[in-house]
Symmetry: C2
Subunit: 418 residues, 2 copies
């Protein structure tokens, strides 16, 4: 294997860049970020790239194209992690393209377009409770009010950036001119079981799912568990339980690709063994790669829960606190990834991404593409038990390399023909 073992070794080193006493926890602008970033700068330079931190703490490496005036292929993923994370989430999408560039450089090959590899400082949003800060910077959606956000210790993002060596006042310099970007392509571990269950190492992402998040509050009437007969009860928990099942069933029975999850669910005040719950709050996270289907499903779930509330003589109130549209991947780029996969003798599986990724921030700004890599161990991620094999890391890197070497954009083909 050309690439697999080396990439896994590098991921192992990055796993040691952590501020947790045990496990992997690497947040934006931390010492662990600096340690990881310095390693990546060196790795990029060794691979023949110009590499440095940008003003907001992303590491950016550039490999010259044959035509330095051609739009840039931007690739990369995030260096930061959730608390007690896995080894490959984000990190693989940085190490894999660096390995490609190192190989090109070793062979003295320069593709037509320049290639930039970016290690985004933040995607997970653990430290400042805003996600995808790094990719927002490049894709023109960085909000300077974020600089005043504080972490758990009371430190602002501005001060953290200054201490890191960044330049908060120069955040706008990070933004790219979209006409100078050929595409954004991201390689990422699937974080789910679809490829694993189908015995495939790779997948081509069709779209990153849109998300709607709601908070439901069920108001019933609390009462003594022993003294209120069953028929007269207005039990908020029983009503909320029925709603949770209706929401599950709505997603399960839907013919379109949709997932719905009740992730938080709590009796007000924690509840008591001998008290009929009077108030229950729960959250719904509903995702689909098709925005119309998602919006329709949200409307349906509100109606279903309203009917349950009416029948049980309780009230249900909704707070719809987050909506993010789906990010469709460019079809021509999907075909180029599929072509590269086929060329390596692997079956092509196209699938939506249920999780959000840096590529989302580039949607509507540049053409986007994503390559998924099989996630072992049942598809577990955001967990130290996350697994990627050296074989899968290898084939994913060879496919990405083919993609770089054979990249064509509409305008490129035209200019070649000219």
């Amino acid at each position: 294997m050309r690439f697999g073992p080396t990439i896994l070794d590098q991921a192992e080193y990055l796993a040691s860049c952590t501020h947790a006493s045990a496990g992997i926890t690497r947040t934006y602008l931390s010492r662990a970020h600096r340690k990881a970033g310095d390693f990546l700068v060196q790795l990029m330079q060794d691979a023949g790239m110009d590499a440095a931190y940008d003003a907001i703490g992303n590491v950016v490496g550039r490999y010259a194209g044959r035509d330095e005036t051609a739009p840039v292929i931007v690739t990369g993923s995030h260096q930061d992690s959730v608390v007690d994370a896995g080894r490959y989430d984000g990190v693989f999408g940085i190490l894999s393209p660096i390995a490609c560039i190192a190989d090109l450089n070793r062979r003295g090959v320069h593709p037509h377009n320049p290639i930039e590899v970016v290690a985004f400082g933040d995607e997970e949003g653990v430290r400042f409770e805003v996600t995808m800060i790094g990719s927002a910077g490049l894709a023109g959606s960085f909000d300077p009010s974020w600089l005043d956000r504080r972490d758990d210790q009371g430190t602002t993002m501005r001060d953290a950036l200054l201490e890191f060596g960044g330049a908060p006042n120069e955040w706008a310099t990070v933004r790219r001119d979209p006409s100078r970007i050929a595409c954004f392509v991201e390689s990422h571990i699937e974080q789910g079981p679809v490829l694993l269950n189908e015995g495939l190492p790779l997948g081509v992402v069709t779209a990153i799912a849109g998300v709607s998040r709601l908070r439901g509050t069920v108001l019933g009437i609390a009462g003594h568990a022993g003294t209120v007969p069953m028929p007269g009860r207005r039990d908020a928990l029983a009503a909320a339980a029925e709603m949770a099942l209706a929401i599950e069933n709505l997603a399960l029975k839907n013919e379109a690709p949709i997932v719905a999850t009740v992730g938080k669910f709590a009796v007000a005040g924690g509840g008591a063994i001998n008290v009929i719950p009077g108030r229950v709050e729960f959250t719904v996270d509903l995702r689909s790669p098709d925005d119309a289907i998602r919006r329709d499903a949200v409307a349906q779930l509100v109606d279903l829960c309203q009917a349950i509330a009416k029948r049980r003589q309780v009230q249900v109130e909704w707070q719809r606190f987050f909506d993010l549209d789906a990010a469709p991947c460019d079809e021509a780029l999907q075909d180029q990834l599929a072509h590269a996969i086929k060329a390596h003798g692997v079956g092509v599986r196209r699938l939506p991404s249920g999780a959000g990724h840096d590529a989302m921030k580039f949607a509507g700004f540049a053409r986007i593409a994503m390559l998924f890599v099989r996630c072992g161990n049942g598809g577990i991620s955001h967990n130290p038990l996350e697994i990627m094999t050296a074989e899968d890391a290898d084939i994913a890197t060879r496919v990405l390399l083919s993609f770089f070497e054979n990249f064509s954009s509409g305008s490129m083909v035209a200019s070649h023909a000219a």
Copy 2:
């Protein structure tokens, strides 16, 4: 009205015996207990009783019978309260018999049997997390290891008793000789809506329900809310929600009187919006006046949940942590209460008590009887919104007075006949 307004005024004074800055909270051996107890001693003495605290902080007043060698009619209820309690729970069962005795004394009437009114120091168990300490003392089930229990401040029950003026080492002196007790009769606000819904001021309790309490733990597999397709999920929350509904349905559809409540229900760690819950814990409180039906229902619910767990490929584990048998009320005493109610022109309703009461502690020790008084405001209790009308307090006290004046036990009838 002879009794109603006075009793409500006295209850209002007891409501001022509280250690909460707002609301009513009166725990065992607190200053509020002392203030309430001193008031009750005075009230009993004014009513013609010998009255004093016993060794464990109960207030006991005795009204002589025509035959001082006859077994004693013991009556009373608890002086203590839950946190932010109502005005009548417990207290009414002390004030109502005192009002009866005051009336007898005013008329110079002494029933055949001596009557003792007891204001139990603890029933709710708020301070030392053991319930019905006062009635356990009289009924022979006081456990001296309780004296080493500590409250939230680290004070032992022993030290609290000493500070209160009690005599912890003399706890055994509180115990009665069951052959010297004619019966224990308790008057109590219903704490539920049954009498209210039927438009009746009073009810005769047939039995105090037995209780089984279980803790269920559902173990599924946590996962990313966006990346795990619906069909493969092992969602602990969805499984637990289905179990909660099955438990509700089991009680609702049962022809026998049974109530079941899921009161606590929590995702481990509080859950996260974007994570499929991997572990959920919930409690079940299941009650019936019929022990066989209760035991059968517990077995059924375990089977139902097991079937749900199997179908959903999750695990469910049970901890059955509390079981208390039902306390049936004496049928002859029920008839005497019913007779007294009828004599006052009120319809007789017999009903089980879903809540536990001091009378439970006397079950198997003495014959027990309970009179329920209508609970206003939808049947709400353990809440400052608990309501009892002066009219209901009045009729309940007149009925209790008739019961005292016309009391007959089997042995009494025999001795009269002799």
